[in-house]
């Protein structure tokens, strides 16, 4: 389980997270939603051990994120792959860092995503790069999978490919996935739990199915309503 206890973070005068408390349950897919600047990336980077809380505490299985790093696969929002590498070289490069690299899974997903090992990262399309990032992240058998905006700026068909690959790869009850996105409609049927962030605070959180049952609304509508309400 991943837990945030009273976590605050500032960048200069900007408050990125303001006394945030939440839990990401084991074996669930959680959607981290909110507009740009809500604190989604900051939260994900903290879990990945890439930045620290100014106050409060983030724990992964009760331990500091840095210690749990081997259990966490992280898909960053930025283009982090070397453009001069081929997909195969990038895979070799990534696999040397992680003991949980699964070559069979890599080959299967490579096929499923219509990618080729000889494709050069600097020369492929944005959609193919997004798929490559996903491929390299989920080819690890990590119990925690963090994805920061895996769908942003990608065409609808590629988004569907990515969502299909996530579902195909997902191990029910075992794997804990956190996906940050503002494309909520795309992941309506993918998430178990949702956390809505706004201005560094949790506006709403809960089970996706329960929110639907209680409100008779989609997650998109629930989010719109939550934000309309706070902005009044």
């Amino acid at each position: 389980m991943i837990e945030f206890k009273n976590v605050s973070k500032r960048f200069g005068t900007t408050v990125a997270l303001d006394q945030v408390n939440f839990k990401f349950e084991q074996g669930k897919i959680t959607g981290l939603f909110g507009p740009n600047g809500a604190g989604k990336s900051t939260s994900i980077k903290m879990i990945a051990g890439l930045n620290r809380a100014d106050s409060g505490e983030v724990t992964v299985d009760g331990k500091a994120p840095r210690i749990s790093r081997a259990n966490i696969a992280y898909l960053p929002e930025i283009d982090h792959l070397y453009p001069w590498m081929t997909i195969k070289q990038a895979a070799r490069f990534t696999s040397t860092f992680y003991a949980d690299w699964d070559e069979a899974k890599y080959n299967e997903l490579l096929n499923f995503l219509n990618l080729h090992p000889k494709m050069k990262i600097g020369k492929i399309s944005k959609g193919q790069r997004a798929k490559t990032k996903l491929l390299l992240t989920v080819s690890r058998r990590a119990p925690y999978l963090l994805m920061d905006e895996p769908l942003s700026g990608i065409d609808i068909l590629t988004r569907e490919d990515i969502i299909d690959a996530i579902i195909k790869d997902y191990r029910e009850g075992e794997q804990t996935i956190i996906i940050s996105t503002h494309e909520i409609a795309e992941v309506e049927r993918l998430v178990d739990e949702v956390v809505f962030l706004d201005n560094g605070r949790v506006k709403l959180s809960g089970s996706a199915e329960e929110l639907r049952a209680e409100r008779g609304q989609s997650l998109v509508e629930t989010m719109k309503e939550a934000f309309r309400y706070v902005n009044q």
């Binding site: 897919i29 009850g173 049927r189 993918l190 178990d192 199915e209």
Partner: protein
């Protein structure tokens, strides 16, 4: 099947199987897709599909045999109940909507009768 994002998805999965049963598209002893197949085909979180299947097992609508698959185990009595419940839901919806248009029961019944007559005449013309 198209899912409505404003209602619990696991409920819609169960409803879909129930409708198939009532329409006779699925019957006692038929094998249904594995949870994994269902999740991949419908693009739904495997945990949600698991919840729907578990619920159907608890209702004794289906039975999962280890290593073999999930099979329909619905009895005649249960099928009748399912049909009645589905009809009840449609009826609730009908009544609610008609009442919101200002129809009372007497006028609804009158409307149903005239609709029936109308359709009878149309069928005779065929």
């Amino acid at each position: 099947m198209a899912y409505d994002s404003s209602r619990p998805i696991f409920r819609q999965i169960i409803d879909d199987f129930q409708k198939q049963l009532v329409r006779g598209e699925l019957k006692q002893g038929d094998k249904i897709p594995s949870q994994r197949e269902y999740a991949e085909k419908a693009r739904i979180n495997p945990n949600t599909v698991q919840r729907a299947y578990r619920e159907m097992e608890t209702m004794h609508m289906v039975e999962t045999l280890r290593g073999k698959g999930t099979y329909i185990t619905v009895s005649e009595q249960m099928l009748a109940d399912i049909k009645f419940n589905l009809a009840q839901k449609i009826l609730d919806y009908f009544i609610r909507e008609m009442e919101s248009l200002g129809y009372d029961y007497a006028r609804m019944i009158k409307l149903l009768h005239s609709e029936q007559d109308q359709r009878r005449v149309e069928n005779q013309d065929d």
